[in-house]
């Protein structure tokens, strides 16, 4: 499969701006929203149980020179193993349960944006010990650090999107 770039799956055909859709219509099925709520909750539960919402615990894993905490290895290991097994089963199906097609990233080229972006993310993660999931989920208890981190994250992501669109305005892209 030839790919123009990473996650530039043509998920929806280019169209004029769609009319705003109400939840429960074909354009925004309620079942997808409810599934998102449910699955997101399981994810948030997992993050908290695993201790990933504690930046000091994450930094204790990243800090090889300190009192090392290897728990993240178990978290990632368990998550990856279960996902790998589950994906093999699920991706054999013709289509997902609630949507008409799978939308999985199609590229396999390791390019500069991937590596540079990952490096920038790594710097940010290594400074404060937050990656997007735990930072957002910690808003549940009004974590004061998240009140600074999460808006900054959104601004950083928004800025990148603007720059990317200016560089290549015609490409249809995912986040």
């Amino acid at each position: 499969m030839s790919c123009v770039g990473p996650s530039r799956t043509v998920a929806h055909p280019p169209a004029e701006a769609p009319a705003p859709a109400a939840i429960g219509t074909d354009a925004m099925p309620l079942r997808v929203v409810l599934a998102a709520l449910l699955v997101g909750s399981l994810f948030g539960l997992g993050l908290a149980w695993a201790g990933m919402i504690n930046p000091l615990k994450v930094l204790a894993f990243l800090d090889l020179a300190g009192a090392w905490d290897g728990s993240l290895v178990f978290v990632l290991g368990a998550a990856v193993l279960l996902s790998a097994l589950g994906y093999r089963i699920v991706l054999r199906r013709a289509r997902p349960l609630l949507e008409d097609r799978f939308q999985v990233p199609s590229g396999d080229r390791i390019d500069a944006p991937l590596l540079l972006g990952a490096a920038l993310f790594g710097v940010g993660w290594g400074i404060a010990g937050y990656c997007p999931g735990p930072a957002i989920s910690s808003l549940a208890y009004l974590n004061p650090e998240a009140l600074w981190f999460v808006p900054s994250l959104l601004v950083g992501a928004g800025l990148r999107r603007v720059l990317a669109r200016r560089a290549e305005p015609d490409v249809e892209r995912t986040a």
Binding site: S7, P18, A27, V32, V33, A35, A36, S41, F43, L45, G46, W49, A50, G51, M52, I53, N54, L56, L59, D63, A65, A67, W68, S71, F74, V75, A78, L81, L82, S83, Y87, V90, P96, V104, I110, G117, A118, A119, L120, F121, G122, G124, W125, I127, A128, C131, P132, I136, E145, W148, F149, S152, L153, L154, V155, G156, L159, R160, A164, A175
Partner: protein
Amino acid sequence: MSALTPGSALGGGLLIGLSAVLWMGFAGRIAGISGMAAGLWPPATTAERAWRCAFLAGLIAGTGIWVFVWGPAPAARPSFPTWLLVLSGLLVGFGTSMSHGCTSGHGVCGIARLSRRSFAATGTFLGVAMLTTYLVRHVLRWA
């Protein structure tokens, strides 16, 4: 390794993995949190924002439930510099958008799919993060 918590780490990891599988099974998508957050920005249709908001709301609710039922919430760090929080947030947001993924999107889902890109991304952000933590904590001593 005195702080190791293998039981809860495994349990939490299994729940995260389960979430990834369920999301693929239901919606046919990677459970990538950075993509969901970034996807809230324009241009996004109401439908595209709706499920992303719902997932992130669920994320918050799930952590909230755990804290309320089991808890406690992690003790707040003694005055971590605000400017470092803002800088790290900007870098995480920008970097995950550029690389199209984070620890969930690349580290869990991408590796589970045996994606070359995700292996490369994950190796990079893990290595760079460890180097950064070392620099910040032991060399620069900013935090």
